[in-house]
């Protein structure tokens, strides 16, 4: 059993300026997940009549992208390829102090405590992150062959869970890794060719309009990404953008 000191960001709503609060929590076992540790804290706060710490989570197995905390200054904590919900308390020591904050970025306003508004990501996808295939009959799935390396590369990019850790980790709060992953997935697949130029123009423009910063190739995004999305995607996005300009694609 461990006892930990927790310094947690508390903020009532997006207007509130927020502050850290300190809690001491004991009874933590190594096979508890980080979120289960917070559940335990909340149970105690509720019983004391205090407001529990609000945080987002759903799947609690690293796939939905709901959870996301900055733990001791690192998005999703220091374990590689791990979301907050997949982080286990066995990685901490009795007596540790853990600082817990929300994602911090202009485009992700804090709603309460550790919950932030990430709908900017939805708007980036709405701007072009799709193929315009309608529901209905389509050619047989095997009508267009896709080589295994191409399919695998599309899949590598497509595994992004949209958690926002890349933005939180980036000193510029850039959403490039997120945006580029979708652009790359569709750029390599035959199905994505038709709208290739329009897609990159529109998604990049939306990304800028949301108030995300520019990419200056620092690479913190890749280090924080729980799905290890490659930074090469960003190079692809830049190439796609330049190629679309050269081709004079319609924006």
């Amino acid at each position: 059993m461990m006892t930990l000191n927790l310094e947690i960001w508390r903020q009532k709503n997006s207007q509130d300026s927020g502050r850290f609060a300190t809690y001491q929590l004991s009874g933590i076992t190594p096979d508890m997940s980080f979120l289960e540790m917070l559940d335990l804290l909340n149970e105690q706060l509720i019983k004391k009549g205090e407001a529990p710490v609000e945080f987002d989570s759903d799947c609690r197995e690293g796939i939905c992208g709901s959870c996301g905390l900055v733990i001791n200054g690192q998005a999703h904590g220091k374990e590689m390829a791990t979301t907050t919900c997949e982080l286990y308390m066995r990685h901490f020591q009795d007596g540790d102090t853990i600082v817990i904050e929300p994602w911090r970025a202009k485009a992700f306003p804090v709603l309460r405590d550790l919950c932030v508004d990430r709908t900017a990501f939805d708007r980036i996808i709405a701007a072009g992150g799709y193929t315009s295939a309608k529901s209905g009959p389509h050619p047989d799935g095997n009508a267009i062959l896709i080589s295994k390396p191409v399919a695998d590369s599309a899949m590598e990019s497509a595994t992004c869970i949209g958690c926002g850790a890349c933005v939180a980790a980036c000193p510029n709060a850039s959403a490039s890794l997120f945006t580029a992953a979708k652009i790359s997935q569709l750029a390599v697949l035959p199905q994505g060719q038709v709208e290739r130029g329009r897609r990159v123009f529109r998604m990049v423009r939306q990304m800028d309009a949301e108030g995300f910063g520019n990419c200056t190739n620092i690479g913190e995004c890749r280090a924080a990404c729980p799905k290890e999305i490659s930074i090469d995607n960003i190079a692809t996005m830049k190439r796609e953008y330049a190629a679309a300009l050269l081709r004079g694609d319609e924006s």
Binding site: S57, C64, R118, I125, S135, A154, A158
Partner: protein, 640 residues
């Protein structure tokens, strides 16, 4: 209660095309005048909303998460079935239909299942067109693998993240319609009541989970695609926020609840590690393609390092008992056998509640690269949670609640008994009978959304007189007042009580798992009803929740869901009590064959049980929709 399934006449193969020819259409300019409310953005909801918007309807969608992309469907791992017969191994629409009806232990509707099998190839084509990166062979063709309960390879997959990729495809189609101005997304919203006007579903009441505001939305039809209710067991593989609230509140407004006791217990989940645990993690069924399930033959070997136990001291019990399906028997069979092994004292791990799933032979046979390509992410996930590597030691697995076959009753058009209330995906009861085959939920959700509802919703709208209704209608004020009163009640008790919503939730889960879980009997079910009633009393008097109603308050949300589960749990126990037979996932210990297999009673129970709400503290009334098997001969299931 009218339970007419409205199955079209004619031969099975022609029913759907004939029906599509017969149903009424709404002309394109009129579609614009109709608003459809879609609650839920999983595979079923997102695909329905996108398809309806493409057709021209005005669509409003609602979800609990902060983005439609995070619906629980995102977590599906293993794959999606389709009768493409690409491997040329004897698959066909008929065989998928047959496997599904048999796998469901003859408790589903033939016509619905046949339509699902017929549409399955189109689903794959649809997803490929969207750019879903399915796994491919070196030839460039789509790859397949096998799932339980079948002898063909018909499962399409995207590594261990099939649900994620299919959902992102549907979500992207949805967002395209948002961009086109046809869909409005209301995220962080929870539907808390259904609004009926003249007996028709015309709106919903939601709580805005960010601001706490109670909001009204009106439309011409309501689609519930709110997923399953496995979280009534507290511990399950379902996401933390999965719940029954939307369907339960619709049930209270008159929608029949069908086969509530049909629950699927998945055989391969990571075992429970302690009381702190908030959910269980599935290890995909696809692992049973290559993993071998075993326990030591001798209880003294239980705690030994598994690598030191020689082959002749191991019992590969599924391979031994079911030689033709081996490790790929259906889920209910695999789960019961794992439980039986543990009940005999052969279970492994600290708790003795686990069996091994061993990849050693597959790694030796196929090599690290092949196995890593297929299951790498699942192995990583397992290691993160348990701190053990499946590359080195066998996985330890145990059954856990995973899926609910029961749900709101719907007819062939996916409409409940309330006109205008359509129910899609896991939230309805329709296609899987008493046990769902692996990789068939994704198929059903997308079939409902992409290919069925676009037709049947049009038919409803074209053939119904819909008066003009907006949120100022008194029915909305009344429903809103009800919602406010129930929240106020929770908050008032919540200030004084001692037990948190999670504590009561856990206790309910414990009762459900012990008595309404994998094996059920009369005594246990009766005691479950009593215990749940007591918990309900306790909830009313001793709940403690944070009082804040005008901002994010997740414990208040949980409390509302637990309140509904406390009623649904009782109904599940009663449904299980009355169904005096064993079928699929519903295993009554009193009804089994001498070999311990499920023993159906077709004379008495070859039907759907549909329950009607009669009011608070009133007994629900059980209605029956008989099932007719005209194309498949009713037989005892055998996977030997």
């Amino acid at each position: 209660m009218n339970l007419d399934a409205k199955i079209p006449s004619g031969p099975l193969e022609e029913k759907w095309s004939k029906h599509k020819g017969d149903i009424k259409l709404v002309n394109p300019t009129n579609k614009r005048k109709h608003t459809v409310l879609v609650v839920g953005t999983g595979l079923a909801g997102a695909s329905a909303a996108a398809s309806l918007a493409e057709l021209g309807y005005k669509v409003q969608v609602f979800c609990i998460q902060d983005s439609p992309r995070r619906a629980h469907s995102i977590a599906a791992q293993g794959g999606i079935n389709a009768a493409k017969n690409y491997p040329n191994d004897g698959d066909s629409v008929y065989r998928l239909f047959y496997d599904t009806v048999k796998g469901g232990d003859f408790r589903s509707r033939e016509a619905n299942v046949y339509r699902l099998a017929q549409m399955s190839p189109n689903i794959i084509d649809q997803c490929v067109a969207q750019g879903v990166p399915f796994a491919r062979e070196y030839s460039g063709e789509l790859a397949n693998r096998s799932f339980g309960g079948t002898q063909v390879s018909r499962t399409f997959y995207a590594r261990g993240q099939t649900g994620q990729q299919l959902l992102l495809g549907a979500y992207q189609a949805l967002m395209r319609q948002v961009d086109a101005g046809k869909v409005q997304v209301f995220d962080r919203r929870e539907m808390l009541d259904l609004v009926l006007v003249d007996g028709k579903a015309r709106g919903i009441i939601c709580r805005n989970l960010t601001t706490g505001a109670i909001e009204r939305y009106a439309g011409d039809s309501v689609l519930l695609a709110t997923g399953g209710y496995g979280r009534v067991f507290f511990l399950s593989t379902n996401a933390f926020n999965s719940n029954a609230t939307a369907i339960w509140r619709a049930h209270k407004k008159g929608a029949a609840f069908a086969n509530p006791c049909f629950t699927q217990i998945h055989p391969t989940c990571i075992p429970v590690s302690g009381d702190h645990q908030s959910k269980l993690t599935l290890m995909s069924e696809s692992l049973r393609n290559d993993g071998r399930v075993w326990v030591p033959k001798d209880p003294v070997d239980r705690k030994k390092d598994p690598s030191t136990i020689p082959d002749d001291k191991r019992d590969y019990f599924l391979e031994r008992k079911y030689p033709s399906f081996g490790n790929l028997v259906p889920r209910d069979v695999a789960s019961r056998n794992a439980k039986e092994a543990c009940d005999k004292g052969l279970g492994v791990g600290a708790s003795g509640l686990a069996v091994y799933l061993d990849f050693k032979d597959a790694i030796t046979r196929d090599g690290h690269k092949v196995i890593s390509d297929k299951y790498g992410n699942l192995f990583d996930m397992y290691e993160k949670i348990t701190d053990e590597s499946p590359w080195k030691v066998p996985m330890r697995i145990f059954p856990a609640v995973h899926y609910t076959m029961g749900g709101l009753w719907v007819d062939y058009n996916l409409m409940s008994n309330i006109p205008g209330l359509h129910v899609l995906g896991e939230a309805n009861f329709s296609d899987h009978g008493a046990n769902r085959l692996g990789a068939s939920a994704l198929m059903q959700g997308l079939c409902d959304g992409y290919f069925v509802i676009p037709y049947t919703l049009g038919h409803y709208i074209a053939s119904t007189t819909l008066s003009k209704v907006d949120t100022q209608h008194p029915a909305f004020a009344e429903a809103e007042a009800g919602v406010r009163a129930s929240i106020d009640r929770l908050v008032a008790t919540g200030k004084k009580g001692q037990k948190t919503a999670l504590e009561i939730y856990r206790e309910l889960g414990h009762v459900m798992w012990e008595h309404v879980g994998m094996a059920r009997n009369e005594k246990g079910l009766k005691s479950a009803v009593d215990m749940i009633r007591k918990l309900r009393e306790e909830f009313k008097e001793n709940l403690r929740i944070p009082a804040d109603t005008d901002g994010i308050n997740k414990n208040l949300e949980v409390a509302g869901r637990v309140e509904d589960f406390l009623q649904l749990g009782e109904l599940m126990a009663k449904d299980a009590l009355i169904r005096e037979e064993s079928c699929g996932g519903h295993f009554r210990e009193e009804y089994q064959t001498p070999e311990g297999e499920a023993l159906r009673n077709d004379d008495k129970f070859c039907h759907v049980a549909a329950w009607e709400w009669k009011g608070e503290n009133q007994e629900e009334v059980r209605h029956v929709e008989p099932l007719a098997f005209e194309n498949i001969h009713l037989a005892q299931r055998s996977y030997k």
